[in-house]
Structure formats: C-alpha cells, structure tokens
Symmetry: C2
Subunit: 201 residues, 2 copies
C-alpha cells in the first residue's frame, strides 16, 4: 500500500522533499561509514594486543602463536580490519547503490560476521580450557602459571566480541539495503484480493 502511494505521486515527492531525502541519505551514509570504521579500529587493537601476547617465566615460554585458535583470531582480525577500511571508503563515496554492489556487501558482511564470530568463540573456548583445565582429558590449567598471558588474551577476545556485535549490525543493515530493493515474495493472500478490488472500483 505504502509503496503504491509513494509511486503514484513522484512529482510531489520531488518538489517537497528532494533536499530532505538527500540529507537523510548523507546522514545514513555517514552513519554506515562510522559503523565500518569502529570495527576497523577495534580489530587493529585486538590484533595488536594478541600479537604482543607472550609470557616467559620459570615454567617456560608461552606465545599466542602456540595456540591455533589465537593464530586464527589474529588472522581474522587482520582480514576484518582491511575489509572494514575498504568497505568504509567505498560506502563514503556518494555513488548510487547498484545491485551487484549491494549483493557483494551483503555476502562479504555475512561471511566476515561468521568468521569473526568463529574466531571469538574458538578463542573463548581455548581460554576457558586454559583457565579451568579438564581433569577427564588430563589438560592442565595453564593460566595458573601464565596469568598475564591469559589476561591479555581475555582483553583481545573481549574486543573481538564487540567487533562481532558491530558486524551483526552491519550484516543486518546490508541485508536491509539489498532486500528492500526486491518486491515482497507474497503477492496474494486472503483478504488482499478484495482490498485491491475495492481500491480499483
């Protein structure tokens, strides 16, 4: 209904609210650019904290690179920072959103969200095992000897989860921007047909 009303008076829409629409467009574009720059900054900080995470004491030496999950976290944060910067630059440019562009953003945002979520959860599990250990499987509580290492890892993981929230919002936004270009899948349903007939008659 709403769509048809808007479509039936494009002249009125043009005359009255052309500037207003441009303002709204600029505001949303700025907001989206910000929403992409924030995770970039967070990814870089999570990456730096984890990269510098090495502890050496009487028990030996422990580095982030000794654990596959933390290596994966560093890699994904690096990729995520790069993608966030690139996508922020593209979004910031005042250009019409085309269909292939909307699809690319949608798919990449989804993939990045899944990848960063996986990195966060996997690292959390490793940190959990390192702090609690597992007696059944005879895994020791590494955090007792390497407290500083675990603390820094926790900071890095916490930052990563903030990135996850940002990316969940971004993938919601990009799916809205993509699918709002399409028609609703349901064209007829009970009651609608009568409504249209009344509207016409």
């Amino acid at each position: 209904m709403e769509k048809r009303d808007k479509g039936s008076s494009p002249m009125a829409m043009m005359m009255g609210s052309r500037d207003e629409n441009e303002d709204v467009e600029n505001t949303t574009r700025t907001a989206e650019t910000m929403l992409r720059l924030v995770p970039m900054a967070l990814c870089v900080s999570a990456l730096v904290v984890m990269l510098k995470n090495t502890q050496t004491n009487d028990y030996g030496s422990l580095s982030y690179s000794d654990l596959g999950a933390f290596r994966y976290l560093v890699h994904v944060n690096g990729i995520c920072a790069g993608y966030s910067l690139l996508s922020a630059v593209i979004v910031a440019m005042p250009r019409a959103s085309t269909m292939p562009r909307a699809w690319t953003f949608f798919l990449l945002d989804q993939v990045l969200t899944y990848a960063i979520l996986a990195a966060g959860t996997v690292s959390t599990e490793v940190l959990y095992l390192a702090s609690k250990g597992d007696t059944a499987i005879t895994w020791s509580e590494a955090c007792v000897s390497f407290g500083g290492f675990c603390h820094k890892a926790l900071i890095s993981i916490a930052i990563t989860f903030v990135v996850v929230i940002c990316y969940a919002a971004l993938s919601l936004l990009s799916s809205y921007k993509l699918f709002s270009k399409y028609d609703s899948p349901v064209l007829t349903y009970p009651g609608k047909g009568i409504e249209i007939a009344t509207f016409q008659g």
Copy 2:
C-alpha cells in the same frame, strides 16, 4: 520501476495471474517448510550421536559431558531441533506473513545461526586440540587413547556444520522476506530525479 508497474495495474495482475501466484506461494511455502525440517532431523541425529558418545578403556573413561564444548553442542542442537520443528509448523500454515511475524522469524533465525555456528566451531577446536594436543601448553593428545570417542564427536560436528549451512540459508531467506516488505532506503540519487520528471511529463 518494476514495483510501480506492478502497482499501477493490480486488476490485470488479479485477473491473469491470481492462480499462478498462489501456486508460486504454495511452492515456496513447501520449500521453506522442508528447509526447516531438514535441520531438525540433522540436529536430532547430531544430538543423539553426541549423547551416546562415551568410551571406557584401560586409560579411563571419557564422556561428552566431560567437555564443556560438547555439552554446549548438545544443548544448542536440542534447542535448534525444537525451534526448527516449531517454525516449520508455523510456516506450513497458509496464513498471511505479518510484520511482527517476519521480524520474529528474522531475529530468531539469526540468533540460531550464530548459536549453532558457535557450537560447531568451539567443538571443532576442542576436537582439534584433542587430536593434535599442544606441547607448549602441555595438553595431551587424548584421541590417541580415545579414538572411538573422537570419531563419533567428528561425525556429530560434521552434521552440525550441515545444520549451519541450512541455517545460513534460512537466515538469508527470512531477511529477504522481512526487508522486501520495506522501501529501498535510497529514494533519490544522481540521474533518478530526471528519470522521474521524464516519466511524469
């Protein structure tokens, strides 16, 4: 453009393609119901395989419940099976898709996708650690002594990842169904204004 053309001739649409639209609607509803029943079946199998996963030998006894990640996998698979069944029943009913319903499906599908992905990745990490061990952190390779346990866990995790793929598709579908109800966020952009003016004049 396409939306306006459709909107301008609802009578023609009603007369010619009412039955056709209903057929399309029924087909998509059946397809979505199937897409929700498949992960239900898979969740139940992943859950059963993991629940029965216990091995006792000379080294001791190892059960899925000894590992937090595998317990989480069982819980999420249970919730996922229940939600899949419930949502399949709701989708199967021939009723108009309202806005609150579309939002509920969208949000729950997203949350379930993230939860099941987290369960899959976390369990994969634990299985990886159990099979490879970690010398730096002095974690033993438990799969050497508990081969059968690890094999069953691998099957359960593999099934869980098929569920992840189903749910990624479902969240794509539900975001399409939700956001296609909304107007495109960009109302005016370079060139569009002129196009509308020509259309009107």
